[in-house]
């Protein structure tokens, strides 16, 4: 964008001011930048409203809460960039955690439990991918169906009863590296750095953008659209499973009703981060900022003592508002 405004204008005073204006507009149009601005504003307002907001405990809490949404959001970024949607993440989150919990109670092996959790998530992702590529079910409907299926299995596997006693999970949710950096934060950073590298430097990442921008052009250029889509949904499922391990570690239990409404938060993080709902445009870094914004709002409502049920309403409004703002900006 900057490249364009610099080269596209001549050396007249009028064009000079035009270029400056275009530069400013480019900055405002830069999602990551404007989102950081909104985040800063949000923090300032909350800091004024509650003396508790800027305490170490609360900031730590925000970091932990952000981790879960951010990691699911990273997977959701791939899906939305490719022009799809995954509504099943909340239920897949619960079911993966339950499968992992069952494996743990039987084997007492944390490694096996983690593998089972992430693996279950990835399998659900592959199933979503198959629905979309092989059966040609639209992503919205396919993953809506999977939302029901995964939730059902989560309840069936444990007959609706949570699994307790996951004390050894705790390091993953509450531990600290070098006694200061929370483990979930480290996992988030690793996930986002990897996600960024994959989207920028790999063929898979590039194809994700290309399919979201024009799937037919991608197919006619020889890209295997189906295989890429399978990979995209599997990635989203895998990361959803990973996120559920962190939450299990934080709470020490896994419950079949867990992850309720997380699809709303994860999609919210991606959309607030500025990805186009039509696919092809957006960045994973912006999703991280989006996740922090979404979590901050939730946290803010909590510490201000707003009824928890209202949080759903606010989350919904945030998504709608973000898309509406995006549409407005596109119309110029």
């Amino acid at each position: 964008m900057t490249e364009l405004s610099q080269n596209g204008t001549e050396n007249t005073t009028r064009s000079g001011s035009l270029a400056a204006l275009a530069g400013l507009r480019a900055l405002v149009r830069n999602q990551a930048f404007s989102m950081l601005l909104i985040l800063a504003l949000l923090w300032i307002v909350l800091g004024f409203l509650s003396p508790y907001f800027f305490t170490v405990d609360n900031l730590f809490e925000i970091t932990l809460q952000t981790a879960v949404i951010a990691i699911i959001g990273a997977g959701m970024t791939f899906v939305i960039l490719s022009g799809g949607i995954d509504l099943s993440v909340g239920s897949v989150f619960a079911c993966s955690a339950i499968v992992g919990g069952i494996v743990f109670t039987h084997t007492h092996s944390l490694v096996l439990a983690i593998l089972a959790t992430a693996g279950t998530g990835a399998l659900y992702g592959l199933a979503n991918g198959l629905l979309i590529t092989l059966l040609r079910v639209p992503p919205f409907i396919g993953t809506l169906g999977m939302m029901g299926i995964a939730r059902g299995f989560a309840l069936i596997f444990v007959n609706g009863v949570p699994i307790y006693g996951l004390e050894r999970y705790k390091f993953l949710g509450q531990g600290k590296v070098l006694q200061i950096i929370p483990v979930p934060t480290v996992i988030v950073l690793v996930v986002f750095v990897l996600g960024y590298l994959v989207l920028t430097y790999t063929r898979f990442g590039r194809f994700t953008y290309v399919i979201g921008s024009n799937a037919e052009a991608a197919r006619l250029s020889g890209i295997s659209v189906r295989r890429t889509q399978m990979g995209i949904y599997a990635t989203c499922g895998l990361l959803t499973g990973l996120a559920s391990i962190i939450e299990a570690g934080r709470l020490g239990i896994v419950q079949p009703a867990g992850g309720n409404g997380y699809e709303l938060l994860a999609i919210g993080a991606v959309i607030v981060g500025g990805a186009s709902t039509f696919g092809g445009e957006g960045s994973i870094v912006a999703t991280l900022i989006g996740a922090i914004i979404v979590t901050t709002i939730r946290n803010g409502l909590n510490i201000l003592g707003v009824n928890a049920f209202w949080q759903y309403v606010v989350n919904g409004l945030v998504i709608i508002g973000a898309v509406a703002a995006d549409q407005f900006r596109r119309r110029r």
């Binding site: 964008m1 364009l4 290309v210 024009n214 006619l220």
Partner: protein, 505 residues
């Protein structure tokens, strides 16, 4: 008497790039004003400002003597002021009937809200008769041929009491006879005092329909002149700002002694009425022409593995191959430039470099790809295909038709394919950029072992570019001709002969 339309000093910039630099345009009652200019000259932007799709940055406009507030001008107020546009890509609702499309948004209904279908159909028949279109108002729009859709769009515009009718490349997909019909309708429209702004790349049409010509170049109107006095050579140089159109002569001709790049025997599918045979030699440009609906596009789609087909024998450089998907075609070194680049050729929301590297990346196998190599390749391609862009990251969406086509070309060149299937590669592209595209095609086949199948319904272009011509009609190949030994006349006879024979039988 007040002008029907007066636009003065219209300016518009996108992201600091000035697309219109103070353009004037006016239109009289009952006049056909032809707007000419290369792609990127600013024609579409000007038209979009007139019909309210874009907001102008500066200038003034009045319609029928009444000043229009450009700040609040939008598609709604444009429609209210009597501006109607017939776009290249249709704005019809394909699943609804002709009558429903004609009444869309203004159904005649009873007080209870129930639609009076009899009146809706009567209204439709009347509107259709105004454009001399004898079709059933109950027919589904999706089932109509392109030419009838176009007339239907004009009928819709007229039924909304349009005073200014904008026709954007109306004859792009029309046959000769359909074009004549359209011109008759345009003359009739003029007689009713409606003004027409006519955009076309086909210069020979200009004198047939136009009263006045305005030429845009680089966002500036360079001339307005009466069509009757215009000299076409002069108009072309006004458009491209040069005195000559480049007509590069071919150096290498087809080499028939070597194994054909592609040899097809007995290509069958549901659409073709008889099995097709064809061969392309190394260095050859094989022209394929025919009227709209003759099966040209279907041929390309079958060869590229998009639509299902069966074949008795398919040899690529003498080796038998099977093509069952675009992916296998790409892997075998075949490239396809589709008829509609925006729909299935380009990722409009991505940059030039992302688009040109598409096929090459699809053919690679590793996990990673090299970004510096991509940048280098894109930079090289920009200069080798003569792409006018501000940088290799510029979004393809903002490029003109000719430049977009060059990006698609670059995508296949970069992937080093050996056989290119070009489907109407110059459709909607102006004279100057056309010459560039021809140059690219010739440069491509001049390379060792490369060949092109060049599909076009523009017979003059076919004669100029191809080494050999196949004529299609009624979804089969009806003739093979030598460009040097044939004429436009003969090709058109072939193209329509079978059709007539069928009707007589």
């Amino acid at each position: 008497m007040a002008k029907l339309l007066e636009m003065t000093g219209i300016t518009k910039a996108f992201y600091g790039v000035r697309v219109l630099k103070g353009v004037d345009l006016d239109l009289d009652l009952g006049e056909v004003h032809v707007l000419l200019g290369e792609n990127g000259a600013g024609k579409s932007t000007l038209i979009k400002i007139l019909c309210g799709a874009y907001a102008a940055d500066g200038g003034s406009m009045s319609i029928g003597g009444r000043p229009v507030d450009l700040a609040t001008h939008d598609p709604r107020s444009a429609e209210d002021a009597g501006v109607a546009t017939v776009y290249q890509n249709f704005h019809l609702v394909p699943h609804l009937s002709v009558a429903e499309n004609l009444s869309l948004g203004r159904f005649v209904h009873q007080r209870s809200g129930l639609i009076r279908w009899r009146q809706v159909h009567a209204h439709a028949r009347e509107a259709l008769s105004r454009v001399d279109l004898g079709i059933d108002p109950g027919a589904r729009v999706a089932d109509l041929p392109v030419s009838q859709k176009q007339l239907l769009e004009i009928a819709i515009a007229l039924s909304k009491n349009a005073r200014i009718l904008i026709l954007d490349e109306p004859t792009a997909a029309l046959s000769r006879r359909e074009t004549d019909h359209l011109f008759r309708i345009i003359r009739d429209i003029k007689g009713r005092g409606i003004g027409v702004i006519y955009i076309s790349h086909k210069l020979e049409e200009v004198k047939q329909v136009g009263d006045r010509i305005s030429v845009l170049r680089d966002g500036v109107k360079v001339a307005t002149l009466p069509a009757a006095e215009a000299d076409l050579g002069q108009v072309i140089s006004l458009m491209i700002g040069k005195d000559l159109i480049r007509r590069g002569a071919r150096e290498r001709r087809a080499d028939p002694t070597r194994a054909p790049v592609l040899s097809v025997r007995g290509l069958k599918s549901e659409v073709f009425s008889s099995p097709l045979d064809l061969q392309v030699a190394p260095g050859e440009i094989l022209g394929v022409t025919g009227l709209v609906g003759s099966g040209k596009t279907e041929l390309a789609r079958a060869l590229f593995g998009i639509d299902p087909s069966r074949v008795d024998q398919l040899l690529l450089e003498g080796r038998p191959v099977r093509i069952d998907s675009p992916r296998t075609a790409v892997e075998l070194g075949i490239g396809y430039l589709s008829e509609d680049r925006d729909v299935d050729g380009l990722c409009l929301g991505l940059g030039v470099k992302e688009n040109v590297s598409l096929v090459a990346l699809a053919k690679e196998t590793g996990l990673f790809f090299s970004i510096p190599a991509e940048r280098r390749a894109a930079t090289d391609l920009v200069s080798s295909v003569g792409l006018k862009v501000s940088g290799i990251s510029q979004l393809v969406r903002y490029l003109s038709g000719g430049n977009k086509q060059k990006v698609v070309f670059g995508k296949w060149l970069h992937a080093r394919c050996r056989l290119l299937l070009l489907d109407e590669p110059t459709m909607g592209i102006d004279v100057g950029a056309r010459g560039d595209i021809y140059g690219l095609i010739r440069a491509f086949v001049a390379q060792e072992g490369r060949a092109v199948i060049f599909i076009s319904s523009d017979v003059e272009e076919i004669l100029e570019v191809s080494d050999r011509v196949l004529v299609m009609a009624r979804r089969e190949i009806v003739g093979e001709l030598e460009p040097s030994k044939t004429s436009k006349q003969e090709i058109l006879q072939y193209a329509s002969r079978l059709g007539r024979a069928r009707v007589e039988a």
